[in-house]
């Protein structure tokens, strides 16, 4: 038994007995544990690759390993994670990526974080060490309590290890820019239906495309009138370095359908906007009152996350009730009830 796990388990059990709450912290890259009034379990040093065999298309790492490290380890073997994660900060940990569940620019094409999760080892609110899922791609033994941790923000307990699906890195890539109005998005999408896309965004009057795959397929798809090569945008976008990400207030908006007219009404009054995921995710910098925007987004069937993140968004009542009951199932004493630490979030509104 690693003494650190023993220590965390003992602290969880003691907290439960004393009615105390515990936070969970990795590298605190979201700045939510900075001024914690509650004590935190610090998983930032819990790092390293536990098992990686490229032929299995799976990797297992400790949760404090940074996503960057994971990418490097995979890159050395010509692989990538079988998902696109939102890399808000270079020190973001794998545990944090899974616990928050935010997906990155290639989500529609490479898959989501939850889908890449094959298994987790975790501690529950009683300090019990549990493993769910495994390291194989297909596994339907018991309830899927491993993927359930995606987006749970640690409310069911700290994730200690994660097994993730990997896939071969694309052999060839091409980044293109195309000057065109947003209204051309539906026809562009149609045109690109067979293309090996891993990115399609619209920002400040231009479409940006990323084509990745076998050289033959990429070359065939790249034959797009008026398109020019431009790799700079994708480097900035992947690391959230485009100017829009510095704007405030900023919202990350998911919508169920590509709805150009609705986007257009928001864009016309916005300070800046970036449409990602081929039209299903909108980053909107706007002075429109949050409540009004929220209402419009809800009406369109979507959800809105104020950025930078201060915690999970409220869920619809029925779903919130289910999550609450699940929390009690994992953590009857409510040790992790305050995750993420809201007091801390209010103390650091600018991070």
């Amino acid at each position: 038994m690693d003494p650190r796990i023993r220590d965390w388990a003992a602290r969880i059990q003691a907290a439960g007995q004393q009615g105390q709450a515990l936070g969970i912290q990795g590298n605190n890259s979201l700045g939510l544990c900075g001024a914690a009034t509650n004590p935190c379990l610090d998983l930032s040093g819990w790092q390293g690759v536990v098992e990686y065999d490229p032929g299995e298309l799976a990797i297992t790492v400790r949760s404090g390993t940074t996503w960057q490290t994971l990418l490097q380890v995979l890159e050395e073997q010509g692989q990538i994670p079988a998902c696109s994660a939102l890399q808000t900060h270079p020190t973001r940990t794998v545990g944090g990526i899974v616990a928050t569940g935010f997906n990155g620019p290639a989500r529609p094409w490479l898959g989501d974080v939850r889908g890449a999760v094959l298994g987790v080892a975790m501690l529950n609110g009683q300090g019990q060490l549990l493993t769910f899922g495994g390291r194989v791609m297909k596994n339907v033994a018991g309830f899927d309590l491993s993927r359930l941790q995606t987006g749970a923000w640690g409310r069911f307990g700290p994730i200690l290890e994660v097994s993730l699906r990997t896939r071969p890195a694309p052999q060839h890539g091409l980044h293109l820019r195309l000057d065109a109005p947003l209204e051309e998005l539906p026809s562009l999408r149609h045109h690109l239906q067979q293309a090996p896309l891993t990115g399609l965004a619209w920002y400040q009057g231009r479409f940006y495309l990323r084509l990745q795959g076998l050289p033959a397929g990429v070359q065939q798809a790249a034959d797009l009138p008026g398109a020019e090569e431009d790799a700079g945008f994708w480097a900035r976008h992947e690391s959230l370095q485009c100017p829009i990400y510095r704007q405030r207030p900023l919202y990350r908006i998911l919508l169920p359908a590509l709805d150009v007219p609705t986007y257009r009404t928001w864009l016309d009054t916005a300070n800046d906007a970036l449409l990602d995921w081929g039209g299903r995710l909108l980053w909107l910098a706007t002075d429109m009152p949050q409540a009004a925007l929220q209402q419009q987004v809800q009406k369109a069937g979507g959800w809105l996350q104020p950025w930078p993140v201060t915690g999970p968004v409220p869920l619809p009542a029925a779903r919130a009730a289910v999550v609450h009951r699940l929390q009690q199932a994992f953590d009857p004493a409510g040790v992790f009830r305050n995750n993420p630490n809201r007091e801390a979030a209010h103390a650091n509104p600018s991070t």
């Binding site: 299995e56 495994g134 309830f143 987006g151 033959a216 065939q220």
Partner: protein, 490 residues
């Protein structure tokens, strides 16, 4: 074997209320109930007390509310093609068939989504999507019959999981009723849902956590071109090594299947697919644009030659592809002709352990005197050993199940799992006791209780009680070999 033809009636008040709700769509006569006494695991049969065949979501909700009020367990059922006994009735329970909720509610080619009722058959989705150049990727071998609701309940796979994933990877939204008939919506269909991943929790939960009444799936553009290769080998090991070499070379085939000699011979005799005389074969499907398909096929041929391939057949047009797939798709019924009965296993292992697990299966086959045909999804390490037996021979089923248990143990010891895509049902409860610790099973029970406090939904399936594990004497004996072996247990 567990055969009981004794019908236990529903409480009269419950039956009356269901009758008032459903009229003739409530079956209570033994002859009408008989088709529902088992699912695809037909060695286990039990007559339900009644079968409800609701026609819409409101009726499903009301039926659930009535059963809840009267304390009657509810067993959801799709097409009944499940292979693990997940839809096996129990005395005193209502079987809730969702087969008549079979409408495609919406198909949006622009958003590439389909929203369907649970009784829609898997293949109907791809058929409806085909005019738009789209398809629904998960394709379990029962796809002409199995329903999407059942696919969600089992997290079904198919032959294209390597590239396109399981059911869980192709879902965007669900509507689920709880045991009291209350609606939970996980949606609308977004590419990211806020909160803990409830889509995954309900997917593969085998009807224990809720009743799926609406499913929104992602559709994919049908690839411009597809190629199928049949790689024949004189040694099982060469074929197994080729699987690893293809994936290690950075290729991601759409399908990667393996068959051993007994399965090949049976398939050839049954379907005359023109399979060569060999010890093992791989079927590899690649897709993409024309030039991508050409490039991948050339690369795979070179790899296979290096690993000792003896013969190659390739197919680029639809008729040729269908011919090569015909043998594989007919493998189960073909093997079914070799013996009166067969028992289909579903363990999954890390691919690199394939040769040693195959060797272990051979050993067991000799020790038990029961032949085994191997047909499996090699690309994702999902084995389907088919144990041939004769249920009419006294004790042979028990011997077969015992041998199956040993195969699953070998899968767990190799770092794998007892079930890759068929589910636990009643069939693999003992294996659950071996794969999970007491604390892990307790956590699953706590989740079950959180969502179904009275334990009305499909009781006794999927997650064994600790009492049952103790009875089986099979509680978790392979500590060092579990997933995450570096983490010791308390």
């Amino acid at each position: 074997m567990n055969i009981s033809n004794e019908q236990v009636p529903l409480p009269p008040a419950c039956q009356q209320a269901l009758q008032a709700l459903l009229g003739e769509d409530l079956l209570t006569k033994p002859e009408a109930l008989a088709p529902y006494e088992c699912d695809g695991l037909s060695v286990y049969r039990r007559l339900p007390s009644a079968v409800a065949l609701p026609r819409n979501r409101e009726q499903v909700a009301q039926a659930l509310a009535i059963c809840h009020q009267h304390g009657v367990p509810v067993i959801a059922r799709g097409a009944g093609t499940g292979l693990a006994g997940g839809a096996l009735p129990e005395a005193g329970a209502l079987v809730l068939s969702l087969a008549r909720l079979n409408r495609i509610l919406a198909l949006d080619p622009e958003q590439q989504t389909a929203t369907v009722e649970p009784g829609v058959r898997n293949i109907q989705i791809s058929q409806a999507a085909a005019p738009h150049g789209l398809f629904y990727a998960p394709d379990p071998s029962s796809q002409i019959a199995c329903t999407i609701g059942g696919n969600v309940a089992e997290n079904s796979g198919g032959v294209h999981c390597v590239k396109y994933g399981l059911t869980v990877h192709n879902l965007l939204g669900l509507k689920v009723l709880d045991s009291q008939g209350q609606l939970l919506e996980i949606g609308p269909a977004l590419l990211e849902q806020p909160g803990p991943d409830l889509l995954s929790l309900f997917t593969g939960s085998e009807g224990l956590l809720g009743i799926v009444v609406e499913v929104t799936v992602r559709l994919l553009p049908r690839p411009e071109a597809t190629g199928v290769m049949l790689l024949a080998f004189d040694h099982n090991e060469d074929a197994a090594r080729t699987v690893g070499a293809i994936l290690a070379a950075g290729l991601l085939p759409a399908g990667l299947e393996m068959m051993d000699r007994l399965a090949i011979e049976a398939a050839e005799a049954y379907s005359q697919a023109g399979y060569p005389d060999c010890q093992a074969l791989l079927l590899v499907e690649v897709d993409g644009c024309d030039s991508e398909v050409e490039a991948q096929m050339a690369q795979i041929e070179a790899i296979a030659l290096r690993e000792g391939m003896a013969q190659l057949q390739t197919a680029r047009d639809e008729a040729q592809r269908q011919r090569l797939w015909a043998g594989r798709k007919a493998a189960f019924p073909a093997v079914g002709r070799l013996a009166p009965d067969y028992y289909c296993m579903d363990g999954t292992i890390p691919r690199k352990r394939l040769p040693e697990v195959l060797a272990r299966i051979r050993e067991l086959s000799e020790a038990y005197g029961l032949a085994v045909a191997n047909v499996f999804h090699a690309g994702d390490g999902n084995l389907h050993p088919l144990i041939l037996y004769d249920a009419n021979q006294p004790g042979e089923l028990e011997r077969t199940e015992h041998m199956g248990g040993e195969i699953l143990r070998a899968c767990i010891e190799a770092g794998g799992t007892i079930t890759g895509e068929h589910g636990v049902g009643i069939e693999k409860l003992a294996g659950m006791c071996e794969q999970f610790t007491e604390a892990e099973l307790n956590q699953m029970h706590a989740v079950k209780t959180a969502l179904d406090p009275e334990g009305r939904l499909n009781p006794g399936k999927a997650i064994p009680s600790l009492h049952r594990c103790a009875e089986l004497g099979a509680m978790h004996v392979h500590h060092g070999q579990l997933p995450f072996p570096d983490l010791e247990r308390f």
